[in-house]
Symmetry: C2
């Protein structure tokens, strides 16, 4: 089973490593990172440099594709090569998935038109502008498409996909192997739960970035 | 603030990327990956190849050090260079931290003698043999040392450390920025919660690996 995890400059590391850690243990998994060109791809802080073993040109089909996000994903729309690659690839995947703002790329590729989908909570308006029907659910299953919320949600998305594809026993086995018994010390993980001043603070932090070209 | 994240051959990717994603946004953070030699380090499946920007020789102090785990960590004991490096570094850190079997390396370096600590649930017996007092808590704070449970626990550990060092507001801000509102689809994330046949299945999966040289 071919699992293609897409990288692009300034990707957010946990967006892709969360699903990678869950999916790469699936039976017969052949997991690889793919980008516009082979080689090292820097993340959003430039500290993580992760190697893409294949280029988009070399990957014309996959069982599962995972597209992570970035604070800068919207700047790839509409001309980055990843968008044409996703549009071309999707008819030959079993599941096309996204984490965080990766869903903006799926939308830009025309895969989310009038479809319920999610993204990082800060980007739901842009997701709507790109033709999707945004929801605040953490993991949203559509027709061969799964979108997930911000950054850390990729772990939940991947486990839900394992359950859907292979059943509860394997999902629980992977969950126990990675000891995924989350115990965040505070309870501010969504805009509905966080205090208003915390929500406003995060909005302010990302204001400059999100006002960039889309 | 210098944040050193240690890599070694066959590291588990999520162990280090979880804390990285949380800690790298701290005020003034200078985060870097460090290994025995500079260059690409392969993870436990060989699919992730992550670049270490510095070598152990180049890092003689740090504010925070993070040591992740691997299914093969025990085979590094007692002679791998990371152990002497940790022993030497620890007196000059503010916090020495581990995720998963990274705590075995802290113990091998003599940092956990008679200290409450945790590890991946499969490795608590070995942690005891190495002189620590194992507990099943997810995140254990000691004197300038924090240990965390298996793989995914590094996110909780890092957020708890942010709260300890900078207070609740910043911990919540980071939690909301990475939308860490975990919703695993099943409830089998610890040996206490998983069904006995799932626990036995994971034990069996790792049997061969864990019987290796320690």
């Amino acid at each position: 089973m071919k699992i293609a995890i897409a990288l692009y400059d300034k990707f957010t590391a946990l967006d892709v490593i969360g699903p990678y850690q869950v999916l790469s243990v699936l039976p017969g998994a052949e997991t690889f990172f793919v980008a516009a060109k082979r080689g090292l791809v820097p993340d959003d802080s430039g500290v993580v440099r992760l190697e893409a073993a294949r280029s988009f040109d070399e990957v014309r089909d996959a069982d599962i594709v995972v597209v992570g996000g970035s604070p800068f994903t919207h700047t790839l729309i509409p001309h980055d090569p990843i968008i044409a690659w996703l549009r071309d690839l999707h008819p030959r995947t079993r599941w096309t998935t996204s984490v965080c703002t990766g869903s903006l790329l799926l939308a830009a590729a025309g895969l989310l038109r009038d479809v319920e989908a999610t993204s990082h909570w800060l980007m739901l308006d842009l997701l709507r502008e790109l033709g999707a029907k945004p929801t605040l659910q953490r993991v949203v299953f559509g027709d061969r498409i799964v979108t997930a919320a911000g950054v850390s949600s990729g772990i939940d998305m991947a486990l839900a996909l394992v359950e859907r594809m292979y059943g509860r026993d394997l999902a629980e086995t992977v969950q126990l192997a990675i000891e995924y018994d989350p115990q965040p010390p505070t309870d501010a993980g969504s805009p509905a739960k966080a205090r208003p001043e915390i929500v406003a603070g995060v909005q302010k932090l990302f204001e400059g970035i999100l006002a960039g070209p889309a």
